[in-house]
Symmetry: C2
Subunit: 353 residues, 2 copies
């Protein structure tokens, strides 16, 4: 019998907590019946939810704690108040102890990154964690990272992002040698910050078997799906992600407006209702919920804080796949393959500088 | 009789050159008959175009040059080969000489920024130029800058952007005290790069009469129109702009797909055709064409290189308004008002650091 996929949930995370987390996990369990959950949080809030979802109850074990990290807590505050006691910490710690394959939280990003880093520690050769997610493009999905785990970063950091993102793309998109591009303000070699040009030269010089570096990609290249993996430091990655989300919402609103303005357009809307529904589903931001915190000795998935149960279920799906396809081993292999791609990066960098 | 608005055009700029520039300018002239043009470029290419647009011909004077900056020329190349001789340089130089109020080019951004900087020089207190444009939001238009004239920048640079952007918003959007936000990856005070936090503290401490600083704005705040003026350094600004443009094109394509899939949706499309046309016009990227290069002793407008005549006409409209409402004087006033807002910025910065 194959092993079950074990997932730890921070049942207190997010704007709402247990009443989103548990129905969400139940929906994912429905899709992946071979899942087991460890739930961390306030038993008094968790049990009533489990009572409504018997299959989920049967697949879960609850570990009570009444300490929860607040959505506005600073990372330092969260660590001071919630280390070893909060639902967020305990979920991450279950990964460290090997009790589960992944921890999932809709809690605040800064606290989650800080706690995961403190508890799990970084992988050898990786300086800082990164948030990666699937971005729906015209050509299918691309992995984009870092979406805001940390800000800034040197060439070595960007190369680490390229390697980890490629591991994730090979797992989630089933690609043997994903294409990788560096986000930049132009495609010409001399464009952008020095660290980006340096990373580009190194990636080209390394010519790795596990990824195909294809050059710089401009902001509109993300929507085009110009590469399977698109790499940028976390400040710009976060701005790009949210600028795109904002634009999508803006257009949806403009479209709604336009379709309700005249009797002809309202009639047209009625006829095309199924098409609009399909479009809405295709663009549903819930479906892109769940970014993966990479670079740690263990996998942590971050859900949007403001998501609903349906959205949280997608984050749980992401966590499930990461464990099922063993992302962590894949990343480790990628980092250490051929005498260590990152060590090689160091050499290539020195060679070009 | 009021003075005419005089505009210099780089007739060789852009992917196409004269056959876009001249019909485009003619369309703008039609909207603003009090315009006069100085056209720089190859007479043999310009004259046949003017022959097709008699009103434009009557309002234009042609200055021949057969040197043109290539779309792929590096800035240093462009300066070496095109200084004092290229159509781009001559158009900018006409601003310097006071022959025109603005120069407009669809030529390559890097070369245009370098030439404008070299020819016109920076305004006192401004270190580097910035590209600013109107961004259509859910709430109307916002001024966003820097969209990629230069990359990076300290707190002083960000404050200069806030001041210049406010001057532009007050001219183009007719606002007495525009709201200003700094683009960041969170709204909390401790978020983001140090220079952003420093700029925020200074802008708050200065409490200027000509702008209302309202805090940090996340990427999705642009589409929401969360502030009249949204400030960021040029790398992120360029990525955000193009990520949004890419998303808009992606959604338009998804919508087209959805509407052509079934007979019901095709019928719906026919009924709602006018609504779709209105939406398309509203989202027409041509209408946002024309970003303004700020911070120089003179105004230069940059058009997309790949635009058509209709799009170029909008860039000419932007140039027209900048001269008509005297943006340059407005910026100078803003920079020097109350003993110089930028000098004040220096003091406020020292006070908070």
């Amino acid at each position: 019998m194959p092993q079950k996929v074990r997932i730890a949930l921070d049942a207190m995370g997010g704007d709402v907590g247990a009443s989103v987390v548990i129905p969400g996990a139940a929906a994912s369990l429905n899709r992946h019946p071979d899942t087991e959950f460890l739930l961390f949080g306030d038993q008094a809030l968790i049990e009533p939810q489990l009572a409504k979802h018997p299959a989920m109850k049967a697949a879960s074990r609850v570990v009570h704690t009444d300490v929860a990290v607040g959505m506005d807590d600073k990372p330092s505050q969260a660590l001071r108040r919630g280390r070893r006691t909060s639902s967020m910490w305990l979920a991450i710690d279950a990964v460290k102890k090997g009790e589960v394959g992944v921890a999932i939280s809709a809690g605040n990003t800064g606290a989650l990154v800080a706690m995961a880093r403190f508890c799990l520690r970084m992988l050898p050769g990786i300086d800082r964690p990164a948030l990666a997610a699937l971005w729906p493009t015209m050509r299918g999905d691309s992995v984009v990272l870092d979406l805001g785990a940390t800000i800034g970063g040197d060439a070595h950091h960007l190369i680490a992002l390229a390697l980890m993102g490629s591991a994730m793309a090979s797992v989630l998109l089933d690609l043997e040698r994903p294409t990788v591009g560096l986000l930049n303000i132009g495609v010409e070699e001399m464009k952008g910050h020095e660290e980006i040009r340096e990373a580009a030269a190194s990636l080209r010089a390394m010519s790795l078997p596990q990824l195909e570096y294809i050059g710089f990609i401009e902001g509109d290249g993300i929507a085009k799906g110009a590469a399977d993996v698109i790499v940028t430091e976390g400040f710009c990655g976060n701005i790009a992600l949210k600028a795109a989300e904002g634009t999508a919402r803006q257009l949806a609103e403009f479209l709604r407006d336009a379709m309700s303005r005249t009797w002809r357009s309202r009639l047209g809307y009625l006829f095309a209702k199924a098409a609009f529904r399909a479009l809405r589903e295709k663009m549903d931001p819930n479906k892109s919920n769940g970014s993966v915190l990479l670079g740690l000795n263990g996998i942590v998935v971050k859900s949007h804080g403001g998501t609903d149960a349906e959205g949280f279920a997608y984050a749980v799906d992401v966590g499930y796949e990461m464990v099922h396809y063993d992302l962590l081993t894949k990343i480790n292999q990628m980092l250490n393959r051929d005498g260590g791609a990152l060590a090689q990066a160091q050499t290539a960098q020195e060679a070009v500088s």
